[in-house]
Symmetry: C2
DNA sequence: CTGTTAGCGCTTTCAC
DNA sequence: GTGAAAGCGCTAACAG
């Protein structure tokens, strides 16, 4: 079993010094063409690859970015990860992926683990527990270690760093507005994420619109934890005669649709449905659901670009933190009625 | 902006040598308790963390494993990744995640990228293009670099390395058997992955069973590329009076169900459906689909354990490659009829 | 008990 | 043109 080739070995075999070999491989003009050729040939022969560890240690750049996600089975985060990966790889960067599993302690551990010079920067979305308990020291300490962070989606205002978010409030307003415009009068707002920053914002946005209309009423259905979401929603829909459901997260939307189907409700004739989701439902549901598309992959790409910009910045010129907002799209399909109200001119 | 603390700086500040500091932090019994206490206090104060790069360079262990996946938006791979991550983190390992996007060249690039001492080992599933074109040198060369690989799901028999697979043939046989036993006579086998190793195996398994029965006929519907899967399946179901669909992959299964719903076919009365999928459909469909569960997370965990075992092995005692087989489960739900045939005693 | 030294593999400055 | 030497941060064998 042959060991991995190093500059040293190439040098010995060629009767050259290590530095000459190193320079040759970089086409340093100090070195004669003949030598360069010799070196390259042998390097090629042995398939020499510079030891990434040594290069990083020397240069203090790892070309790696750390990504800490609350979950990966949630399609939204999977898409964000995909966006990050694409963008990172385009720039020759690798990504270290960690999944906090919505758990504060795991998140802390991962931040610790990665802040040992393992990565050049971090992209992360806070775990549910972190947001609920509001423990943020582990993030704030990254500043002291001089490692830049970009927070996305599940952010916290008090942390001074770059952020990329969705305008959740506006998005849910738009969705609610559509329901109202298409004639819905009695709307259920269903959420299983009321304890997350984004959950609150979506709530606020939806309510704001509903409250603008005297003839529109809404019901909030907040479901916590891993309660039996299905039966809660079923019970709710049975005892409340709503004509629309706005699902503020994937679970809420998905379950609502299935329960409606089970109850024999016709969509959209009897029940209009709009869901915050990211393509999963859209792809696998019938009738096709109207959705608030969060452009998760774009979000991932933007977060990555942000981080690259930050990394490229002269650290002394530490500009103020930037918050970028990704616009959502309301994608109307078969699960909602067309707009009925005549807008005033 | 304070720079990251190193042993050197601690040593200077404490008027000790670097090695004494290093040993103190390791509770080396050679060092006096008093010194250990002093060192630890200062280290704590500065939140000293050993530079992972330097440690790795020294020890030639990165505590990182590379994971190369064909896709991440496919729920199956997301689940596998989750399984890998959980298992790895349990052992204090980080994972470098790469997504080949079904593209041979990206896969090659990633293998190159990671085999520069960036990882201790690799877990991967071959990209579609790699399987089709059968170019495998990049994987085989890993052996020369002495970096262990565990291949899962999309494997290749000619590569000498550990493998973790699902018994796809048996799984599809089981599924087909159930359809037959529940009285289906005219069964569509729908696949969009006939060009993958797993696709072929599933095909073979299903056909084998169908062909055992004189009164059962089957139709193969192989859909290639990103053709308009929906219309092809719709057309097929319209012109062929089948009473069951066996979807050999997620797309095939999902689209079949939706089209059936669209066509007004009652499931399972008029059409039984079983799909190879990994919980996605199950979670979001109504009626609940019968599925072949591939236990993706288990698969990921097992692959990781395999890799750890390999890493722990004395390299000179390079045992033969091991192939582990993960059993599937046929999860029967509302989309299939109960078994009708009376089995002979 | 503590310190010196060498070395992991590489880059880079400075001599020759 | 080429090479020697220092150093990135750490560990470990060996001296003292």
């Amino acid at each position: 079993m042959r060991k991995k080739v190093t500059l040293k070995q190439l040098a010995k075999e060629l009767n050259l010094s290590i530095s000459t070999v190193s320079k040759s491989l970089k086409n340093d003009r100090e070195i004669s063409q003949k030598t360069i050729a010799r070196v390259k040939e042998l390097a090629e022969f042995y398939k020499y690859k510079p030891n990434a560890l040594a290069v990083s240690l020397k240069s203090s750049r790892t070309n790696t970015i750390g990504v800490i996600l609350p979950e990966i089975l949630n399609h939204f985060f999977a898409k964000v990860l995909n966006g990050i990966e694409q963008e990172a790889s385009k720039h020759g960067y690798k990504i270290l992926t960690c999944i906090s599993n919505e758990c504060y302690q795991k998140e802390v551990d991962y931040v610790e683990m990665l802040s040992n010079n393992s990565v050049d920067g971090l992209i992360m979305s806070l775990s549910q527990e972190t947001q609920i308990t509001n423990q943020l020291d582990h993030i704030k300490e990254l500043k002291r270690d001089n490692i830049p962070v970009v927070l996305f989606d599940r952010i916290n205002e008090t942390i001074d760093c770059d952020k990329v978010i969705i305008d959740d409030k506006k998005a849910s307003s738009k969705a609610m507005q559509h329901l109202v415009d298409s004639g819905c009068k009695n709307i259920a707002i269903v959420t299983t994420i009321s304890n997350l920053s984004v959950g609150e914002l979506r709530c606020t946005g939806a309510k704001k619109i509903a409250e603008m209309y005297d003839d529109v009423s809404y019901h909030m259905l907040m479901i916590n934890e891993v309660a039996d979401v299905e039966s809660i929603i079923e019970e709710f829909l049975t005892s409340n005669a709503v004509d629309a459901v706005l699902g503020l997260d994937e679970t809420a939307a998905a379950v609502s649709v299935n329960i409606a189907a089970k109850m024999g409700l016709k969509i959209p004739e009897q029940l209009s449905v709009i869901g915050f989701t990211d393509g999963l439902l859209a792809k696998y549901s019938y009738p096709k659901l109207s959705i608030v598309s969060q452009h998760a992959e774009t979000l991932g790409a933007i977060a990555t670009q942000r981080l690259f910009k930050r990394l490229a910045m002269n650290p002394s010129a530490k500009n103020k933190a930037v918050t970028e907002i990704v616009e959502t799209t309301l994608l109307l399909r078969a699960s909602t009625l067309p707009v009925r109200t005549t807008k005033q001119l």
